[in-house]
Subunit: 311 residues, 2 copies
């Protein structure tokens, strides 16, 4: 049998998703690792990753020779060329780890690593909401606000592998201080933590979640509707910079609060159309991310294929 | 003799610069056209352009067969693929003009057209302040504030040919209305017109020029120094978006007020280092544009060469 597969690994702060993907983009099998106990113990974590890879092969009656390679998305700065994790802002202990080499020795197959949002962007581009699009931007909304850029039919990473930080576009020169050291960043305004704080204050309830604010808006609650409208306007103004700078054909929006997209998308698009330059704002399309929980695993399939075939 | 040349044309609002460039990037001969009388009469202007091209050949004892092609930079939106000028915001009468075809029939050589700042960016990249740099951003400061992007070793234009509008990065969500329809744009803050207004108010002199404010700063005038410092901080914050989004290796700054770069550059760089993310802001370099008045003509040499040789 000549069928080849890719192992996809999406390393997050609380768990690791692993999957086996066929070359045509079907997730054949999946497994989860809860990493709460040992996320900062990098040797233990690497050992667990290798174990999960072996299990996926074993359960699916596959051998190493059936696997084109493994792709890993990590939440931080990755030197893609050298295969080194430079640092992970939310996971201590990971500094200058030559993860590619270490894993290759252990699992005996080619391993490729990249930033997690870059990997998600590759996935959405080839298998999700961006199929066939030459120039697109992916925005992920969550605790962190991140992004990835496909420009001229290729992932654009920049010389320091840091390109695509949509969450750190400043919205206001004198805005509040952001974790990154900047002021008034998009993430400092619409990152989950700040949205929850704002919603809890607005509704006077300290246990309120953003899911509830979404449901309140679904039922027509005026304060909830206004909350999402203001959130959407901030996101839209952040995207004005992106639209004027990059003239993307499509912007794909994913992540937690993108679930409120019925309330967000119309105002985001309206803000872009009103505030960005007319030609790029008329042509840009907004789409919700399609791959959800599979995005990182499917993106790893693209990462491995592109690395091996030099695209 | 086997030497080839390119004809470079830089069409501005008040005059047209034409030049003959060798393939190694030497400007062999130049000529100017004052267009005050007929800039909006497009047939007359095209006729004058063709006349200037013929004169340049004649004066240099060259024939059409010695010329690889002509490159033209235009101050507006250009469909580079079709060779059509879509519109020029400051020159009425130029809408959907198939300039490439029209010129090719008249001057009997390949003609390529692009936005003027894109052409300048190509020039600085190959012959000026950006030689050998794979990822760079060019910022032009003047009445208009524009930009061009070299990403992954190629000019990035975007699907609608509008990419690189650095002047329309919003600095503040509720900033003053800009000509483009947006609010708080970089151009609305540091475009020459607004800087002159601000300086004239500050010094209480209605005939003050920005050159004078520069000379005052050179002599240590505290108000003039503060004026440039504030201007530089705005430019720096606009560039924070660029640095965080694109992680360029180098930013090249040109145009009128870039002459005040002794007063501008240190604060621009300091603002980027303070406010942009640490990895991309530590690696980015600021350079003054090098080619000055020659940029558009030398850029045309690059435009023609890339179009003919498919780069």
């Amino acid at each position: 049998m000549n069928t080849w597969y890719v192992l996809g690994i999406d390393l997050g702060g609380t768990n690791v998703k692993c999957g086996l993907v066929s070359l045509d983009g079907n997730v054949i099998s999946r497994t989860h690792l809860a990493t709460a106990g040992f996320i900062s113990d990098k040797n233990k974590l690497i050992q667990a990753l290798c174990g999960a890879c072996h299990n996926l092969l074993h359960e699916n009656h596959l051998k190493t020779k059936n696997i084109l390679g493994a792709g890993i998305g990590l939440p931080g700065l990755v030197d893609v060329r050298k295969g080194v994790v430079k640092f992970l802002p939310n996971i201590p202990g990971w500094e200058n780890v030559a993860l590619k080499n270490i894993m290759e020795k252990k699992i005996k197959m080619p391993v490729f690593i990249d930033n997690d949002v870059n990997v998600i962007t590759l996935g959405e581009w080839k298998f999700g909401a961006g199929i066939g699009i030459r120039d697109l931007v992916c925005l992920t909304l969550g605790t962190g606000v991140g992004g990835g850029l496909i420009l001229n039919n290729a992932l654009y990473r920049g010389p320091g592998f840091t390109a695509g930080e949509l969450g750190h576009i400043p919205l206001n020169e004198d805005g509040p201080l952001c974790n990154c050291g900047g002021r008034g960043c998009l993430e400092r305004t619409v990152g989950n933590k700040y949205l929850i704080e704002k919603a809890q204050k607005l509704f006077g309830r300290r246990d309120l979640t953003l899911e509830e604010v979404n449901r309140l808006a679904d039922r027509g609650n005026p304060s909830a509707l206004k909350f999402w409208e203001e959130t959407a306007a901030h996101i839209g103004i952040g995207l004005v910079s992106v639209v004027n700078l990059l003239n993307p054909k499509r912007i794909i929006i994913g992540g937690g609060i993108a679930k409120a997209h019925r309330h967000l998308f119309p105002v985001i698009l309206q803000t872009i159309r009103k505030r960005a330059m007319s030609v790029p704002s008329q042509m840009v399309q907004l789409k919700a991310a399609k791959l959800g929980d599979h995005a990182g695993i499917l993106g790893a399939r693209v990462l491995v294929d592109q690395a091996i075939h030099g695209r």
